[in-house]
Point group: C2
Chain length 341, copies 2
Amino acid sequence: MSAPRTAPDFDRIRAAEARLAGHIRRTPLLNAPALDAIAGRRIWVKAEALQHTGSFKARGGWAAVSAMSAAERARGVLAYSSGNHAQGVARAAKAFDTPAQIIMPSDAPAIKSETTRALGAEVIFYDRASENREALGSALMEERGLSLIPPYDHPEVMAGQATTGLEIAEQAGEVGVHEADVLVCCGGGGLSAGTALALAETAPGLHVRPVEPEGFDDMTRSLASGQRVTNARRAGSICDAILTPTPGDLTFPVLQALAGPGCVVSEDDALRAMALAAQHLKLVLEPGGAVALAAALFHPSACAGPDVIAIATGGNVSPEMLARALSRGTEPCATGEGTAA
Amino acid sequence: MSAPRTAPDFDRIRAAEARLAGHIRRTPLLNAPALDAIAGRRIWVKAEALQHTGSFKARGGWAAVSAMSAAERARGVLAYSSGNHAQGVARAAKAFDTPAQIIMPSDAPAIKSETTRALGAEVIFYDRASENREALGSALMEERGLSLIPPYDHPEVMAGQATTGLEIAEQAGEVGVHEADVLVCCGGGGLSAGTALALAETAPGLHVRPVEPEGFDDMTRSLASGQRVTNARRAGSICDAILTPTPGDLTFPVLQALAGPGCVVSEDDALRAMALAAQHLKLVLEPGGAVALAAALFHPSACAGPDVIAIATGGNVSPEMLARALSRGTEPCATGEGTAA
């Protein structure tokens, strides 16, 4: 890849936007009175679960593959991913007739590995607890001459995810929202940082707040302490899409400068947010794609002002997990800041 | 109401479109490779479940209330509805500060009556099997001086629903689809007829095909026989949104001229389509909102050509019914034309 190892500037983000045009959906910004009533403010949901491949990762995948030279594309690409980035890279690789190999944790939902294979990619599994996917990826890359497309620490991937922020700036403006927190489900920080970079230029009143699940709040703690910290656990959450050990090299400085503080929600918050998204937005979310909406709904004191924007980042969930969330949504709430409303 | 008792002409449809601008979502036209593989052709899903109130009925409700005089609006509106039209009328009435009374069958899902009440309307229940809602509505209308907004046999309601067709014409054109069947979940025929009128002017290669559940196929049989016939049953299907006894006075002639033949699917088809919509489109559908997609998926021989468009008309479903569909979707298929693929 010819891209420098720095965060993308705004020209690179606009260039990615141009390459994505016609290949990526402009997902809607949804709202529902019932959700506003729970939160005590208007909640605007950027529905990236409706994106091609079921998550925003189709943006970064397309941005990265489309930025490669024809010679690089002919040799092929490699990605490590819990599943959503895999599908995004696989879809783009297929469109550009590029061979794709994907390194995926063995605990990824079957729907993600199956869909990645259906997109023509080869899937290689690794153990999330005992193996280092970056080391595995580097070895394969050198051995086979593939171009590595990492899930977040890459300027073109970040530029692709940043197009979500360009759309949010436009869509929030259309509904008269110019000042609000933008809650973003956060793993390594590619979407959070990309969105923050895009909003800094196009809607400076919109402010990114990374949201993470309990036990995997490396970004929140890193932003609070001013240095990158690591999670004690590597696996063991239903929020499989956003379990990364530590903030990215490129993403963390961007978020230090433009975003935060972070926000942490429970797995139960995520399940209840999934149930409410299905009931009131008609939107299927995966647990890791629902944590931002969960923060908006159940932790209203973490934000201020009459509006909040939450990116619903993905919907690649098994029927069983979705049914579990629906069942949880019909039970009374035992705890939770926002549940007395 | 000052509107004549005739189907809307194209000027009336364009006028409704102008009044709806900014108040109604332009819902996306979604697709997924996995659905295309099942059907053996490309399936394009117009996601009206993502419309305000969770169904396309928000269009007709807004068109009708916005067409009334200020004096009419001050007296109030009345609607009879299984729930989706109720919400559409209630939302519009609330926005125009108009009192709304809704006559709803006692077997309507609780989510629909609750949401209608949350929108500020008064709900009056009737028994679907033993009472005639039209007679009940007429009596209330005369007694209280309310304007009746029927669910389909009304020129402004049909013009509002027709805006779905205007959007389909544009969105299909954007993806290069100019010849295709447009499968429409059909109750009284307001959306089917409105869409057919809109497409006749804007995309004459797109052809409306009403889709109904088994046992409630009055439109399909009426189109086949050339005269309006009535269903033997009035209730007893999970497809509560589209159980009407007979085609409308205004809608049937339009569909005779511009649409058909109809298509009939089973309840099991609808449940399996709901499961696939959740898995691959991240879209929550109600049974009555899934029959068009079910026809596209499981009755491919009913259509011809490389593309088919299905309107996913609504998503107001209980968590229990959605969980039932998800459970059904993971079981092997015992029967079904398209299931061998």
